[in-house]
Each structure stands twice: as structure tokens, then as C-alpha cells.
């Protein structure tokens, strides 16, 4: 498909009738539309979508030029129209869409839009309107599902390669949908034929038929469930890989986080220990402090006592009161009777004089004994204090080191991923994956046994069927249909895998030429584009580059899709698609713009770019030789030279 010309009438800011002829030159296949912001670049792209698919993505749904609408009289009508002239498979078509707006006084109301297609007769003069359904014909020329790959805006570029519905679109583009439609049609035919067999009167056949129906139903259920479970398996497989990659990338962080947890414990223990050290120091300081500090005093006290010593021999622990008691009872503890004035009494009175208060000898002796005891108890007072003090100091120093270490880790872990969370996610994915894989195995076993049952019942039915002439004919038809189905299925399968591997090759080739980093991409079975090395961060710019690689690979492949296999008759001609892009380079840096500019015109049959001047500059260095047509989109200026937002001209 080639886009030859676009004519717009009163479409949004394109007032009056305005026309763009696009370059259809095979060599100079680029048309550039350069315009400032809000001049109407996006509107142009959307005009294509409106004409082809009646798609209206504007916030303000009114398509009629505002200045025209404002000038309408009551009852007056104005048309918004778009003519798109394209060439498809050698035939020129004119696609026209028109919407009539009527002024009702306070409002301007649109009618339902009308669209039709003319084609140019081989004489090159006569245009004939195609009578059949408009949408069906458009689907044939450019399927709507694929349109987003060929008409796209900068903000949508990045999303293309990760879209979920991409599979159906790619299959459509590569002609695979034709085969897959054929397969599902044949399946219906086979089922219908089988159902039309008449087994009335044959009880055994009826029983087999019932069992077959049951087994078929069960098979269908299992297959449906298998699809769900496979989706889950795939999802958790990806989750597992993603978190494994994240964990690998965060191994150092994990070690650091582990060390930090250890340090938290160490610090807590040290803090407790320091509190204990303080307690012990206080305790050591308190006990025996009096003995330690009293040493100098004690020296002078003992000297004094020594000088004044009237140290006399005395019975230890004897007191004056004890002797008085013995004197009063007139009998000694040895049994001797003590009479007044006796020698024994005299001895006792002498002994009493040695006791306090008359004599302080024994008191002083006791005092000295006490002093001796306290000195020895305070002997190691200083050593203990010093020991407790240095233990405390060491623990404090150690705490300081550990706190510093933890602060350094805190600093280095700022903004780091929570590895424990990643680990949990990984474990969860792994557990779920195992569960679903187990489910899948069970389902596959059930499916296998269903299929075996079905084959058995079918065989039985076949043998019953042969007994009846009509049934025998149906059985033959079923066999034909089945053979056709197998043939298509085989073609589909080989085509499908070849399409994917060729697409992957193309996309990778383009990607490696566009992207100045070092990455490889893969296309999965759902035609989503992925990096082989799992990564976590992807800039918008990289996403855009990836999508450009994908789209250019896609159009590239479509061109040669079914012409390369020379051994077979081509069942689909080469498909040529234009790329129509709005502000495609907005997220992409200049190096990438240059790389992309190299590839797009070479891949696509026709490239139409609406772009801002600044983004065009790096691209034009590369594309200039292949630019066939170039336009400026300019806003109308008012009498003060200010730009009018609602009127633009293409020049």
C-alpha cells in the first residue's frame, strides 16, 4: 500500500481544502511534515485514522474547523471531508469520508459520517464506487488491528513492542491468520459432519457417540484449563527470572544488608554490655571506697595509737561487765569461790582495770584488727576500678567503630532495593511455579487419556458407520476434511515458526544497528519483544528504539514474507506498508535518531514523518537524500503577528 495524496476539508485546524501529495518515489520515499507544537502534526496522523476507521481520539470530538463553525448561520450546513488516495496491489483507490455539520442556532451538530471507496478503472480516468461494505474493504487493504503499527505517535512508540494483543496482529500481517481461520473453519466442518452421522437404531453406536461427546467435552474443558494454567506457569516463570536477576544484581546489597542486621545485634549487645560495665564500675567505686580513701588518715591514727599504747595483756573479748558479773556471783568460771578481800577478787579487779573504760587496750587492739581487715579488702580497689574502667572504654570504642560501620552501610544502602522483599517474591514465584507446573502435568495426562478415549470411540463409531451407506459417505467427507485440516495445520506450524525466527533475526539486526549499547533481544511465542539479559530499568528512549527495531523488522519481513520460499507457490504476495509517524523522536537521543533514520526508509516502502524542527535536524543529516517531499505546517498569523491556534496551512 502506498499513500499518494491526502485532501482535508475543514478538518480541525486545516481550514478550507488543503492537500498533501506524498512522495511515492521508490528511492526518495520519505515525506517530511515540519511544524511547531500544536500546529497540527498529530491532527494529520489522526486524519488518516478517521478516514480509514472512523476513529476520533480528539478530546473535543468536534471535527469541524472552529472558525468555520463560529461563522455559520442558523440552518446552514458545512462538510468536514477527508479524501485519501492510495495505491494497493496496483489499483488506485480513493477513500472518502464526510461528515455534515448543521447549525441549529446555539449549536453545530454533526451527522453520522459517511464513507465510500472509489477505484480507478484501468483506463486511468473513470472512478467507480465500490458498492460492498466499506469496513470489509478497508480491512482487506489495511486491517485496523495492524494500523497502530503504521500510524503512530511518539508517545505510543515505546508501548508497541510490549503490547499484549500483538500476537493476533503479527499473525494477521504475516498471513498466518488466513491459515488459522481455515483451520478453525475446517474443525467446525469436521464436527458438523460427524454430528450428521445417523446412528438411530444402533444402540452400540449411540452409546459410543454419547461417550465420545462426553470425552470431547472433557477434553475441551481440560484444554481451556490448560491454557489458563500455562498462562500462570509462564507468568510465574517470568516473575522467577525477574527476581533472580534482581537478586543477582543486588548480591552486594544483600551482603551489606546482612552485615547491617548483624551490626544491629552487635550494637545492641554492646550497648547492654556498656550499661553493665557502668553498673560494675559504680559498684566497685562504692564498695570499700571508705577504706581506700581513709588510708592516709589511718596512718596518722595508728601512729598516734602506737605512741600512746598502754597495751596490756588481756583475755580476748573480755569486758568489764563480765568481770563484774563474776564478782557479784562470787564464783569464777573455773569454779573457784571468790570471797570479799580474797586474792582471787584482787586478781579479777586487776583484770577489770585492763578493760575499757579504765583501759582501752583491747578496744584499740580490736580497732587495729578492723583496720587491718579493711586495708586488705581495699588492697585491689584501684586495680578493680582500673579494670572496670578500661573494659568500659574498650566496649565504648568498639561501639563507636560499629556505629561508624553501620552509618557507612546505611549511606551505601540508601535507595537500595530491599533484598529480603526480593527474596520473598522469588520464593513465592518459585512455589507458585511448582504448583502450576504440577497442575499442568496433571492436565496434560488427563488430555492424553481423553484423546486416547476419543480415538477409541471414533474408531468404534467408524466401524458402526460403515454399516450404513449414508454414514459411510459422511465418514469419507470427514476423512477429506481431516486431511485438509492436517495439511493446513502443518503449513501453519512451519510458517509460524519460520515467521518468528525470521522476525527475530530482522528485529535484532535492526536493533543492533540502531542501538549503540550492547543488548540482544528475543521474540517470544506471543510476539512480545524482550531482552535476553533480564534487565530492570528501561528508559523511554530505549523502549522507543526497541519499538522502531520491531516495526521496521515487521515491515521488512512483510515485504518478503511469502516470496522467499520458491519451492512452493506463493500464497500471498509481498505486502508493502507505509510508516506514518508523529513526533517519533521525542524520547530518543541524537545518536539513536541518526541510527533510526538510516533504517526506517530502507525497511518501509514509504515513510511519512511529522516532526518538530529540532528533532528533524539530526535525522535530516541522514535522511536528506531520501526525502522526496517536504512540507511546513504553519499556523495562520493574526493582524498582530500572533499565531492562531485554530487555523493551520500546509505549505
Amino acid at each position: 500500500m502506498l499513500i499518494k495524496r491526502l485532501i482535508l476539508k475543514n478538518f480541525r485546524q486545516y481550514i478550507g481544502e488543503q492537500k498533501i501529495d506524498f512522495s511515492t518515489d521508490r528511492e526518495k520515499n520519505v515525506t517530511v511534515l515540519i511544524g511547531v507544537n500544536t500546529s497540527g502534526k498529530t491532527t494529520l496522523i489522526r486524519a488518516f485514522e478517521w478516514i480509514l476507521y472512523n476513529k476520533n481520539d480528539f478530546d473535543d470530538k468536534n471535527l469541524l474547523n472552529k472558525n468555520v463553525a463560529d461563522g455559520m448561520q442558523m440552518g446552514e450546513t458545512q462538510a468536514v471531508r477527508g479524501n485519501l488516495i492510495i495505491e494497493h496491489e496496483g489499483v488506485e483507490y480513493e477513500i472518502i469520508r464526510e461528515q455534515i455539520y448543521t447549525c441549529t442556532g446555539s449549536n453545530v451538530r454533526p451527522s453520522v459520517s459517511k464513507a465510500y471507496i472509489n477505484y480507478l478503472q484501468p483506463d486511468g480516468q473513470t472512478r467507480t464506487q465500490i458498492g460492498s461494505d466499506f469496513d470489509t474493504n478497508i480491512e482487506r487493504i489495511l486491517p485496523r488491528a495492524l494500523s497502530s503499527y503504521f500510524f503512530f505517535g511518539g508517545e505510543r512508540v515505546g508501548a508497541i513492542s510490549s503490547r499484549e494483543d500483538i500476537e493476533a496482529s503479527v499473525k494477521g500481517l504475516m498471513g498466518l491468520d488466513v491459515l488459522s481461520n481455515a483451520m478453525s473453519h475446517l474443525r467446525t466442518v469436521i464436527n458438523k459432519l460427524k454430528k450428521s452421522m445417523d446412528f438411530s437404531g444402533d444402540e452400540n453406536a449411540n452409546r459410543a457417540q454419547k461417550k465420545l461427546d462426553g470425552a470431547t467435552k472433557q477434553l475441551q474443558e481440560c484444554e481451556d484449563e490448560l491454557e489458563t494454567v500455562s498462562g500462570q506457569v509462564e507468568y510465574y516463570q517470568e516473575e522467577k527470572e525477574k527476581y533472580a536477576a534482581l537478586l543477582r544484581a543486588n548480591e552486594e546489597t544483600a551482603a551489606a544488608q546482612h552485615r547491617r542486621e548483624q551490626l544491629d545485634d552487635v550494637i545492641k549487645n554492646l550497648e547492654t554490655r556498656i550499661e553493665k560495665d557502668k553498673k560494675e564500675l559504680i559498684s566497685a567505686f562504692s564498695r570499700n571506697s571508705f577504706a581506700f580513701f581513709s588510708l592516709p588518715l589511718l596512718k596518722s591514727a595508728v601512729q598516734m595509737l602506737n605512741e600512746a599504747s598502754d597495751d596490756t595483756e588481756s583475755v580476748p573479748e573480755m569486758t568489764a561487765a563480765s568481770i563484774d558479773y563474776i564478782l557479784r556471783r562470787h564464783r569464777c568460771i573455773c569454779g573457784t569461790l571468790i570471797s570479799d578481800g580474797s586474792a582471787a577478787e584482787q586478781n579479777l579487779l586487776q583484770e577489770k582495770a585492763k578493760q575499757p573504760p579504765e583501759s582501752i587496750g583491747s578496744l584499740v587492739r580490736r580497732y587495729r584488727e578492723q583496720a587491718m581487715e579493711y586495708i586488705s579488702s581495699s588492697d585491689d580497689y584501684y586495680d578493680i576500678i582500673e579494670d572496670k574502667f578500661s573494659t568500659l572504654r574498650n566496649d565504648q570504642r568498639e561501639l563507636g567503630f560499629r556505629i561508624d560501620e553501620r552509618s557507612a552501610l546505611d549511606e551505601s544502602l540508601k535507595g537500595a532495593k530491599d533484598v529480603a522483599f526480593l527474596e520473598r517474591q522469588y520464593q513465592n514465584a518459585e512455589t507458585r511455579l511448582k504448583e502450576f507446573e504440577q497442575n499442568k502435568t496433571t492436565l496434560l495426562q488427563s488430555i492424553g487419556s481423553c484423546k486416547k478415549d476419543i480415538a477409541n470411540y471414533e474408531k468404534a463409531l467408524e466401524s458402526y458407520g460403515k454399516a450404513n451407506e449414508k454414514n459411510a459417505r459422511i465418514a469419507l467427507n470427514v476423512a477429506y476434511a481431516q486431511a485438509t485440516f492436517d495439511w493446513v495445520a502443518e503449513a501453519y506450524k512451519s510458517r509460524e515458526s519460520s515467521v518468528r525466527s525470521r522476525l527475530e533475526k530482522k528485529v535484532n539486526a535492526n536493533f543492533s544497528r540502531m542501538y549503540h549499547g550492547n543488548r540482544t533481544i528475543a521474540i517470544d511465542e506471543k510476539y512480545r519483544v524482550k531482552y535476553l539479559d533480564v534487565t530492570t530499568e528501561e528508559s523511554d528512549g530505549l523502549k522507543a528504539v526497541k519499538s522502531f527495531a520491531f516495526v521496521s523488522g515487521l515491515v521488512d519481513l512483510a515485504k518478503e514474507a511469502l516470496t522467499s520460499d520458491k519451492s512452493r507457490e506463493a500464497d500471498m504476495g509481498p505486502q508493502y506498508y507505509p510508516l506514518v509517524m508523529d513526533a517519533p523522536f521525542s524520547n530518543v537521543d541524537e545518536t539513536h535518531i541518526r541510527n533510526i533514520s538510516q533504517i526506517l526508509p530502507a525497511s518501509a516502502e514509504q515513510v511519512i514523518i511529522a516532526v518538530m524542527q529540532k528533532d528533524w535536524e539530526p535525522a535530516s543529516e541522514i535522511m536528506a537524500p531520501v526525502v522526496g517531499k517536504s512540507y511546513q505546517i504553519e499556523k495562520q498569523l493574526d493582524q498582530d503577528g500572533e499565531e492562531i491556534d485554530t487555523i493551520s496551512y500546509i505549505r
Binding site: F290, P296, V302, A308, V364, R368, F389
Partner: protein, 181 residues
Amino acid sequence: MFDKDMQIRGKYATYWKALTQLPGNANDTSSNTFKVFENYIYVYMVAPIIGLLHGKRAQYDPADDSKDTAGMLAEIQIKNAAKLKYIYRLIILTDDSQGLTNEEKINWAFREDDNEDSVKRGMELYTSYFFGGLEILYNEFVNECITDDDYVRKMYEIVSEFKDEQNIDDLTVDVEALLRS
């Protein structure tokens, strides 16, 4: 002596609290949190010695309008009576503030335990040095230390400076020799 409940009041009560770890339910009127002694009794035993070493006696200050009080039960003193009496005698023997001869000091320390008046005077002397010691310890610790670390360092300093100044190792040997003679 040392066999009745005792209580002191005013700023000395606050000083005593500031130097002592108090039981959880006690009303701590001091502003510091780090306490260098485990119990009141340890302060009561060492403070008079510190006071005496510095020749520092103190009395209640009539201008002190603090209503703070602190005290000890009789049983604590009875339990520590031997040590307290030992310190009491040591103070009487080594105090020079009363202008007494050695003989008079020895008599007061050892002969007059039953003399109420002597004991009263002895306890007054003890208490005055206790207050003096409280003031010194309070100044050294609470007035000079802010952080726990300050307190800890001060504790060690006081002990090790005293050891060096007094040449404690030799002094111990000397005193032991004197005691044995």
C-alpha cells in the same frame, strides 16, 4: 550511735541524692541521671573521710530554704555499725579542728562511747565532715560532669589521682607495718 533512723534536709539532702542511685519509687530531686554510688550508706561512709582529707566541714546553711530531705533507716546503719564506728573513731583521732591533745582524742574515741554528751559531739563532728564531703563530691561530679562519659572518666581520675598523690602502694605497706608493730 548509728542505731536510729536518720534524716538530713536542705541542699545536703539533694547532694546526697545526686550522688546515689535511688530506688525506683524514690523522689529524686537531683537533676543528674548518672549516680556514682550504689547506696546512701556508701556515701555516708566515704564522704566524711573525703571531708576530713580536705579539712572541709559544713553545717546547715540558715539561708538554705530547700525542703528536700534524705535519710536512712536504723537497720541499714546497724548492719554497717562496725564500719561506721570505725570511721567515727578514725575521724575523732585524726581531726585537728577541736584543739585536742592526742590523749584527749584517744579518750574521746575509745573511752566515752557511753557518755551521751561525748557521743553527741562526736556525731556532730561526723556529720559536719559528712556534709563537707558531700559538698566536695557534689562539686567534683555533678557540677563538672554532664555526660555519663564525664562521670565515668571523673570516677577513674579521682581514684587514680588519689593513688598517685598518696602513693597508696607504699602507704599500704607502711600502715600494715605500723599495725603489726
